[in-house]
Symmetry: C2
């Protein structure tokens, strides 16, 4: 597979680094080699929502709009873990698109995934209730395990809601024995029930 090739000199950045902010111009095309980038949107009220995550081998699409038609970013990107990334200058990007079928395939795959992510997100935010959204977020973050280390605040931004709302829902579930709750971490005592709630729309 060409997809493991190096396209540009790798750069490492520590977790927590802000890669780009809303309204900023873009420097180049970002390819994630290792680590995860969290892309979020922040409203005027300060409330935040996670749009999607960019995984290794993936291509960050925020840069895309910039490069194609000069629109500045609307979102913010933060290194969720330590990262190794490559940055392609615009000319190199266009050359690769024209010449490299593998690069095109990766690019289009990334576009399709981001697009599906965004549709799912709109569906959830606009048409799905808090219990289902929160249950999905918990199961997603737990990733098969029974322990999740997050604050209510983080969960709230994950589902685009407010901390108080998350706290209330979690305490209901804790009383019902679905979860165990502690400062900064949660235990999923009854993941089956959570899955059920997550399905329910």
């Amino acid at each position: 597979m060409r997809t493991t090739d190096t396209l540009a000199p790798p750069i490492t950045v520590p977790a927590g680094t802000v890669l780009f902010r809303a309204g900023q111009d873009c420097t180049g095309f970002v390819v994630v080699r290792d680590g995860v980038v969290r892309v979020t949107l922040t409203g005027e009220s300060g409330r935040e929502i996670v749009l999607y995550r960019v995984a290794p081998g993936d291509i960050c699409l925020q840069t895309f709009g910039c490069l194609v038609d000069g629109t500045p970013y609307a979102a913010q990107g933060v290194a969720e873990t330590a990262l190794t990334i490559e940055i392609l200058p615009p000319a190199r990007f266009h050359a690769l698109v024209a010449q490299d079928a593998d690069f095109r395939a990766r690019l289009f795959g990334a576009v399709a995934r981001r697009f599906a992510d965004m549709e799912r997100l709109v569906e959830e935010v606009a048409l799905t209730g808090i219990p289902a959204r929160l249950a999905r977020a918990l199961l997603r973050l737990a990733d098969g395990g029974a322990q999740v280390d997050v604050t209510h605040e983080t969960l709230a931004s994950e589902i685009g809601s407010a901390r108080e709302v998350v706290s209330r829902q979690l305490s209901v579930w804790a009383r019902g024995g679905l979860i165990e709750s502690g400062r900064g971490h949660l235990g999923l005592t009854n993941p089956a029930a959570l899955r059920q709630i997550a399905e329910a729309g």
Copy 2:
């Protein structure tokens, strides 16, 4: 500009035709030559929200995910006006991407626009109040004019809310002299005030 070239035999379809539904497989790549396609998402409750519109010269991206990684549509596409479209079979699509720089530019432009649309939508649905969303929708649909022919129901799906909510907000504005309201149509009596509300986040 190559963008006015014909890529495939044009097909005409009447307004109201459903081009694709959620969960369906895709037939090919749709390029809109004339008319507007409205792409919407429908929740289990039956509530609907407009994701974006595909304008002439534009490329419908719902087909994109299908062609690239086989994901079926999540959304539904309806001909909002009578349409003239072209449908590219997958092989032709891939050939054009590889060989035609103009086609690539159009494709990327469409991707960037759709992406910006979706981000705006998430921002509105998740972080923006009803008055601002509704005012924006009105101004957008009025398109500079002072008259809009829509039902409250349609406006509701435009902003991803419920008819009653729209009705209530509109009657407040009607009492305040910002709009005049009739069955199936609205007059924007004070567009400046609406613009103000639209800005307010």
